[in-house]
């Protein structure tokens, strides 16, 4: 994952007086899933639409495999596959016709197998206007990858999908990554980003406020690791025991929960205590802060960032 296939450098885009994106820079390597996260209006879709050649930026540089989307948009369609957040197809176009239509413009054979794989086999003769939102999104994703582009841009690809379809899409994305495809994923779903993305950038009010792997981002936050312990005699709670690096404690059902800034010493001390007191451990869980918690920490006004 060394070769950069996509570079955004000091990018800026304004709509009149409103600056949607400013000073945004990031790179994405071959075979990487890169998550673009941010609250509504943060500038994710604007950035993606400029990368897709739909809009032109006002400053900075965009580059996808040597192509500047604003100067050579005609060269983009072989390089990228795009699932837009808000897109449409002609209401009377059937699923099969859509696949045939766009494959013809890309100069490739239609990939009807993708339609079957994404659960559209029963809908291939159905008009676009008669598909559910989830089916329309699945069709859009099929069309985005049908011409086998090296870079795939997905804007909220799984919003509104059921669990089974979402899981199938996640598997497809992981397969595409394994084949060396690069995926830019804009999503509100933090669990999805945490599961799929190799790296993420968090956009806030048009600027990138954090970039890194999900583990790096969660590790750099001020969030505490949750250590939940259940024992036979509940001595931890009854004795009011205290342990190193614990900032606060709570009790839920039979569990005593410690919020630790440094879980290693905390867990060691808990195990030593139980051994010394002769209480038997039933369950011990260590949960690091989630990306969602870190995201909220960064994007919620008045918090750390």
């Amino acid at each position: 994952m060394d070769e950069n296939v996509l570079t955004v450098t000091d990018f800026r885009k304004a709509y009149g007086d409103f600056v949607a994106v400013s000073g945004v820079s990031f790179t994405v390597s071959r075979g990487e899933i890169f998550g673009l996260l941010g609250p509504n209006g943060a500038g994710k879709t604007t950035t993606l639409e400029c990368l897709e050649g739909i809009r032109n930026g006002d400053g900075g540089q965009l580059n996808i495999l040597g192509v500047d989307p604003s100067r050579e948009p005609h060269k983009l369609n072989k390089l990228i596959g795009v699932q837009l957040q808000t897109s449409g197809l002609p209401a009377d176009m059937t699923v099969d016709e859509a696949m045939k239509f766009f494959s013809a413009y890309h100069g490739v054979a239609p990939r009807y197998d993708l339609l079957d794989r994404l659960g559209l086999q029963e809908k291939r003769r159905t008009k676009y206007s008669q598909l559910s939102t989830g089916q329309q999104r699945r069709l859009a994703l099929s069309l985005a990858v049908a011409h086998d582009p090296p870079v795939i841009i997905l804007d909220e690809p799984t919003a509104g999908l059921d669990v089974a379809t979402r899981t199938e899409l996640h598997t497809l994305m992981q397969e595409l990554r394994a084949q060396g495809r690069t995926i830019i994923l804009a999503t509100h779903d933090m669990a999805e980003a945490e599961k799929l993305a190799d790296r993420v950038s968090i956009l806030l009010r048009g600027k990138i406020v954090a970039t890194g792997s999900p583990i790096e981002l969660t590790a750099t936050g001020s969030g505490f690791t949750k250590v939940s312990v259940r024992t036979e005699q509940s001595l931890l709670e009854r004795n009011g025991a205290s342990f190193p690096a614990v900032a606060k404690k709570s009790v839920l059902d039979d569990y005593t929960i410690y919020f630790s800034a440094d879980p290693g010493p905390t867990v060691s001390a808990i195990l030593d205590y139980l051994h010394t007191e002769g209480d038997k451990l039933i369950d011990l869980r260590v949960e690091r802060p989630t990306l969602e918690e870190r995201f909220l920490e960064i994007t919620t006004p008045g918090d750390a960032q």
Partner: protein, 271 residues
């Protein structure tokens, strides 16, 4: 070429299976033709002399002005062109292929009118080659006008406004229902500004060998110039996305499409 054929086949099928398109392409013009053939030829037997060209022009105008622009506007507003753009569908195809499909439908209706006109004892063209060429040119011209309206209109309501600015006066003054020769003299130059008048005068002069008020060869030139100008303006003013503020030109530039007709009025007065 495969993409072009696939796109054209899809648009042609849409013209048959979409109820609104079916209405504007076939039911409305053929219904109107049947009504005019049954009633108007009884009220005014002289109408038999112009039934075929008048109804062909009507069919072409109905499908291209009432049927073509709305889907262009709706598609743009629904974000369909955004999907097309990122998948490499060129603007030229987006505009010209629906127009070509509409023109094909209009030509099918024209053929039905020509084949069934003897039922109404209608006069037939004396010069079939001229009739065919004027039909093709008229269809291309109205197709270009429909494209231009679809490009500059911002909503379905503005489509109705623009099309009715042409459609209604054309019905009254365009030589389809009444020969322009019997219009009051003051109205004749106004009539010459409508493409229907130019098409009717070209048909009557070149395909039927009748005396005409306007020079029929000049009418062909006006239609051709209008076709090229409207097509060029439609391509130039086309926007992929109404939310994207970047436009190559102000929609008011579409008024340039009137130039050939204004020139025709001036020339008609000079000659």
């Amino acid at each position: 070429m495969t993409a072009f054929i696939t796109h054209l086949a899809f648009e042609f099928k849409t013209g048959l299976r979409n109820p609104t398109a079916m209405l504007m392409n076939y039911l409305f013009p053929l219904g109107f033709y049947a009504m005019m053939g049954l009633i108007m030829t009884q009220i005014n037997p002289g109408f038999k002399d112009t039934l075929v060209p008048a109804m062909v022009v009507f069919a072409i105008m109905a499908s291209n002005l009432l049927g073509l622009p709305n889907p262009l506007v709706d598609s743009r507003e629904a974000g369909i062109y955004r999907s097309f753009k990122i998948n490499g569908v060129p603007a030229l195809s987006i505009l010209s292929i629906p127009a070509m499909s509409t023109i094909f439908h209009a030509l099918i209706v024209s053929a039905i009118i020509v084949l069934t006109a003897p039922i109404f004892d209608s006069s037939m063209p004396k010069n079939w080659l001229a009739f065919t060429l004027i039909t093709l040119l008229s269809a291309a011209t109205f197709g270009s006008i429909g494209m231009l309206i679809g490009v500059i209109a911002t909503s379905g309501r503005s489509v109705v406004l623009y099309t009715q600015l042409i459609f209604l006066p054309s019905m009254l003054l365009g030589g389809m229902m009444l020969p322009i020769e019997i219009l009051p003299e003051a109205f004749q130059p106004i009539a010459a500004i409508f493409p229907t008048t130019q098409a009717m005068q070209a048909y009557l002069g070149l395909a039927y060998g009748q005396e005409t008020l306007l020079n029929p060869a000049l009418c062909v030139g006006v239609l051709l110039a209008s076709c090229i100008l409207c097509f060029g303006l439609a391509i130039y003013l086309f926007s992929w996305d109404s939310r994207n503020q970047t436009r190559r030109g102000h929609p008011a530039l579409a008024l340039l499409a009137l130039l050939p007709f204004v020139a025709a009025v001036i020339l008609a007065r000079l000659i």
